[in-house]
Symmetry: C2
């Protein structure tokens, strides 16, 4: 990622470096702890687990991480998030118009990255398939993001609709990452398909885990509800509650969710309803079900590779 972005002089690329976390707003290097790059690591892990040389998968891993970064920048504009990872978001620092440009540019760089697969010795057919995989996954991600924005306008969303949306919005890129890793390892179709399924299930489990954390916090709990709760996002615990509530409880939820703006003072009542409806157990079993699906899909690999993928899956779901 640094080779692609760092060498370019134009201020457009400074916005990208800032977002990814190497630079401050003035373009000076920063040495923060880098965030987990789950999708890139998923790609490299799948390549290695399928018996490939991870170096071959680096362009693909770079591409999926650049797409994730691009989506984050556009997401912050779309949702109006002023902050990301404790710093001003790109649109907050440079304005929405330039943030849109920075995101578009990262998407183009993702394409530039994946074209380098051939230079890493990936066979032409696998390199060409990789391009198709990346493009169709990107399109699926935009479909999922479209559904996500549409769902915010609606009061209820079925758990099935949530699953479809999470599969597109998050599962598609994880699935793409792992499939690209297998392609870079010249794996056969059963392995590349298995890795795609594995990544997609992992992505859904990760999304559910992430949304649980926004409601209930991490292992140590949290002081305040995350902005997405107050933004009435269709987080899976809330989706479950709307789906399972009886008429009386639906009315209590409606009293809260029909308010124009939610505040911290509304959160205890929401948490009480979620408790009554067993939302936490429901979400935990959803995570476990997709974790199991991911592990099952990884069983197309030789035992050692499957074990490596298993460790990776649990790292992602615990992080």
């Amino acid at each position: 990622m640094q080779a692609l972005i760092g060498a370019r002089e134009m201020p457009l690329y400074r916005m990208m470096g800032y977002h990814i976390g190497w630079e401050d707003r003035q373009g000076n290097p920063m040495s923060n702890e880098p965030p987990m790059r789950h999708r890139g690591v998923a790609c490299l892990t799948a390549c290695s687990a399928a018996g490939g040389d991870v170096e071959a998968a680096v362009p693909a891993a770079t591409a999926v991480e650049l797409i994730e970064s691009f989506c984050q920048i556009h997401d912050d504009v779309q949702a109006g998030n002023p902050q990301r990872d404790g710093r001003d978001s790109v649109w907050w620092a440079w304005g929405p118009a330039q943030a849109i440009n920075a995101g578009d540019g990262l998407y183009a760089l993702a394409r530039t990255a994946i074209l380098q697969l051939r230079e890493r010795g990936v066979e032409p057919a696998a390199a060409f398939s990789s391009l198709q995989v990346l493009d169709s996954a990107s399109l699926e991600v935009f479909e999922g993001r479209f559904e996500d924005l549409e769902a915010q306008e609606r009061i209820n969303l079925s758990a099935d609709a949530w699953l479809g949306m999470a599969g597109r919005k998050t599962g598609a890129l994880f699935g793409c990452a792992m499939k690209l890793g297998a392609l870079a390892a010249s794996a056969d179709d059963s392995v590349t398909d298995g890795m795609a399924t594995c990544g997609r299930s992992l992505g859904i489990a990760f999304q559910a885990r992430d949304e649980m954390r926004q409601v209930w916090g991490g292992p140590g709990g949290q002081d305040a509800a995350a902005p997405d709760v107050l933004n009435k996002k269709k987080l899976i615990p809330i989706v479950h509650a709307f789906e399972e509530a009886n008429l009386h409880t639906k009315r209590r939820l409606g009293d809260i969710y029909f308010k124009r703006v939610l505040g911290q003072e509304d959160v205890p009542a929401i948490l009480t309803i979620l408790d009554e409806l067993g939302a936490r157990d429901y979400c935990e079993s959803l995570v476990q079900r997709h974790r199991t699906e991911a592990l099952d899909a990884a069983s197309v690999l030789p035992a050692e590779g499957a074990a490596t993928v298993g460790v990776f899956i649990d790292t992602v779901l615990k992080s």
Copy 2:
């Protein structure tokens, strides 16, 4: 374009069909006169002029038109344009967040389009080069759009800086279109390079002609200045005026341009200053110089092909 977008059901694709002009907001077919698709036609013209079968270039022509549409949608969000081609712009109809998604999706579809070159019989090496050409042109377009937004914050921009910006913002995609056409015709390097130069020069001439029209209107003149004049865009006539004005005239221009908002009542004074500084002749000679460069570059083609490209160039510059 219709084969790629029309067959998809999700409402995301209805925004695209609306923008491109086939559908109304409810998704019902519309039979308006389609707009000129200069970039797509540039690609097909270059292919044919270089002795190729235009059918082979259709995926590439589709890709550049989808990129142009994607840029228009994001541009309308960035500039806050409520209208395009006499209809509500996508963000005005669906909101900026979904408009960003629709643009992102069109970009992904452009990639999907160009991957079909192989199915049209284009050789692997030329198909692979085409991908690289499209990606690096896209990146250049975003660089130019970045500069364009930055320039709006500044009072002056040199004519040289304008030329660099126009080359990136508009020239890059025209150059890419014509180069892709030559690649689809399996032309040799001298021809593909010539077509790239031809398209880039044509793009700059087209941009200058378009900005002249925003100031002075088309052949029949116009009643009111275009929004870009009032938005203090760094249109080439204005750029020339700021560069050529003496101290006294600079002060007159400054009095106008330091206002927070320009109104129609400021336009006569601007037009007077442009007249005094010969801005119209300057811009016309800029157009002619780049037209000549484009024609010269086309002379790498056989005489008949060069003549075809010449007719196309004049069509674009008169449209």
